[in-house]
Amino acid sequence: MNIQTDNRPGTDVEPPPQATPASPQSWSSDLGATLRRLSWGPWGRIGFVVPGLILIILFFVLPFTFGSIFAFVDWTSYREELRWAGFDNFRLIGELGVLSHAVKVTAIFAFAVMVIQNFVSLSLAVALQKSSKINSVFRTLFFIPVLMSPLAAGYIWSAILRPEGPLNQLISIVVPGEFDYAWLGHETSALLSVAAIESWKWSGLVTLVYIAGLNGVPTSVLEAAKIDGASAWQRFWRVKFPLMAPAFTFNVVVSLVGSLSAFDVIMSTTNGGPGNATSVLNVALYQQYSQGFFGTSSAISLVVTLLVLCTAVPLVAWLRRREVSM
């Protein structure tokens, strides 16, 4: 079997030819062996952890801690004094109707993103799984949105979705009469549109993870299923999908949790509108902040964090159990 043309995991392959001392493989092999021989000891290992730990403390632990404290402080730009407020900030945003609405919109948005993103990306991954020149081109094309600025993506899509925009012009070719639906002008279609844009933005990354998951399925198992008479559909759902459970876990959690913190795409497409139909928690937070109400803004921030934790931890636990049971 030729190792260059068949890289399917789990396939029995011949051992690689012995590298000559001057070849690059030899260098890397020697370096790897040297590193393995080195005994780092506990302090050496801690040295590797420290940079990451510092970044986490600086950019997550400290802001989260202070932000959490400020959620219980009466802090506005109107006054110099800061006062302990207990749960008053939460009560205030509750009374103003900001909290319940934003939590509802955020939950719908995140669920929609999770479904759209995973469905589209899994389909793309199946279509683009095999390594070929054409598939490489398409993988690159679908990955480009990941590299774009979310604001730029939002502005481009808001132009595309205008009533007189290119999307409606395209639909008008098929649908009789002038099609001028304002996609961002109605509550439901606006929320689904921004969810679709957010999904599109990150689907390239999710697709790559699914492709890696699909390529991790042993070929021998698939061949055995084929010999047993399983159809292509059965091989996908009964064999591939359960075996790529870790990729599914990762993508579901990342898409759901990531979209709970969405902000930039929404601000650049709808500004939270029409009305407040797409005002997710982070948009509501921004609106409180821009009025100088930093305490209530921190309270919403804490709600976002709690929502992420309360969603991510049980979800990961459940999906990991599911992986084991599969």
């Binding site: 001028d180 407040n276 902040y289």
Partner: protein
């Protein structure tokens, strides 16, 4: 023992946070009693570099004013210019983080001024000469708690209805003066020019929705500030079903329900509204003079078309042709307490010069109506002539600029446009925002 580490961490975090709170609280707690006038005995310093935070909207006339001051005083103004669309949030963020300029260009009016905590963070300008010359504008646009903190050079911004002259003439209509006129013009236009949107609304930018519903309608109720006084003294509430505010929202909602707005009213942007009224695909748009004229002038650049040949302007309110006016962020200056007495004194010198010896040249170059007494209005040209005529027919200071919580209105009227709120619900929500902001000020 396992629990001790998180406990220590929590205690440490609380200690650090408490230090931060106290640091924030004690910051700039300097001598609040000194006023700008009491500093006038000190000689004005020269050779000082003053930092000014300004908006990118500053006109060439204002930039020339800064240069003229530099030449006259020997001081230097170091401009830190922020983009106009993020101006308020950028300033608020830096301000809250403790950073301050020597001169701040900032929104006039109680609502925005209060958000910067002027009584503790700004120099009291009440006893400077310009206050008397600026008259009631000084006590309404840059004042807080009975003290004047801001100097308003102008130009003022006028809110009213801009209309396409040809579209109205073709339909045999006169420019509207009241909301009843707007409604009847809408009905006529829908019959005679069905392809034309009678009124263009730009909900995609959020803020334009407050102009027709929450600024223009109430203008003739507040010609002498009586409506704002009634709200501040709680004789009236924004949520009163028969009050001017809810009535304005109802009139706006009626126009929306009657199909008077463009089809894409909830997503269209301000620039779309200017294009539409210039091209005649919309008959009218409620907008402020600075934004509309700047955008329309840019749009017509390179053509032979004169703006005043295409567009007219009229004041429209509930019952009569009253326009609403408000000072602008451009040309309104405050002096933050920096703690550096030399720079503070030089900043006071800038205000005295800009409102005194430098003012006549500025007004002449800006072509704006003077905000200081003792200056002749320069001849008005083009569309500004129409605006001047409308101003003379009736004008009221926009109450919204001095309404605590006024910045919430745009979100509420946007929801009204989208039919997420009834006028009554919108009134109640606005009243909640007002009460909340008022409580923060006390």
């Amino acid at each position: 023992m396992i629990r001790t580490k998180p406990l220590y961490l929590s205690i440490a975090a609380l200690v650090v946070a408490s230090s931060m709170l106290s640091a924030c609280s004690s910051e700039n707690s300097g001598d609040n009693s000194s006023t700008a006038g009491s500093r006038m005995s000190e000689p004005a310093p020269t050779g000082v570099t003053l930092t000014m935070w300004n908006t990118a909207l500053d006109t060439p006339a204002l930039k020339n004013l800064y240069k003229a001051y530099e030449a006259a005083s020997g001081n230097t103004i170091d401009l830190v210019t922020f983009p106009s669309d993020a101006f308020e949030n950028t300033v608020l963020t830096k301000w809250t983080a403790g950073s301050k300029p020597d001169i701040l260009e900032w929104q006039p009016g109680l609502s925005r001024l209060a958000a910067l905590n002027p009584s503790q963070k700004m120099i009291d300008l009440s006893d400077l000469d310009f206050v008397e010359k600026e008259g009631t504008l000084a006590t309404s646009s840059g004042a807080f708690d009975g003290k004047v903190y801001g100097a308003t050079l102008g130009p003022l911004t006028e809110y009213g209805v801009f209309y396409n002259k040809k579209v109205l003439a073709d339909a045999g209509l006169q420019p509207p003066k009241t909301f009843a006129d707007l409604s009847s013009s809408c009905t006529e236009l829908r019959t005679k020019a069905p392809a034309v949107a009678p009124i263009f609304e730009a909900g995609g930018d959020v803020w334009p929705t407050q102009i027709l519903s929450g600024i223009l309608y109430q203008a003739d109720s507040d010609k002498n500030g009586e409506y704002l006084d009634a709200l501040l003294s709680k004789k009236q509430q924004l949520g009163d079903a028969d009050g001017a505010f809810v009535k304005g929202l109802e009139a706006y909602d009626d126009l929306n329900t009657a199909g008077c707005f463009n089809k894409n009213a909830t997503t269209a942007k301000m620039s779309d509204s200017v294009d539409a009224v210039l091209k005649g695909t919309a008959a009218m748009v409620a907008q402020n003079s600075q934004v509309l004229i700047d955008t329309a002038t840019a749009s017509l650049a390179g053509t032979d078309t004169k703006l005043e040949d295409v567009l007219g302007f009229v004041g429209v309110s509930a019952n009569g042709p009253t326009l609403a006016y408000a000072p602008n962020v451009t040309g309104t200056y405050y002096l933050p307490r920096s703690g550096d007495s030399e720079k503070e004194r030089a900043a006071i010198d800038f205000i005295n010069w800009a409102t005194g010896p430098g003012y006549a040249d500025y007004i002449k170059e800006a072509g704006a109506l003077p905000t200081m007494a003792g200056h002749e209005a320069p001849p008005q040209e083009g569309l500004y002539k129409d605006i001047r005529t409308a101003y003379e027919m009736g004008a009221a200071s926009a109450y919204l600029a001095n309404l605590p919580g006024g910045s919430s209105l745009q979100e509420i009227t946007n929801r009204l446009l989208n039919k997420q709120l009834t006028p009554e619900e919108a009134g109640k929500q606005m009243n909640s925002a007002f009460v909340t902001a008022l409580a923060q000020m006390r």
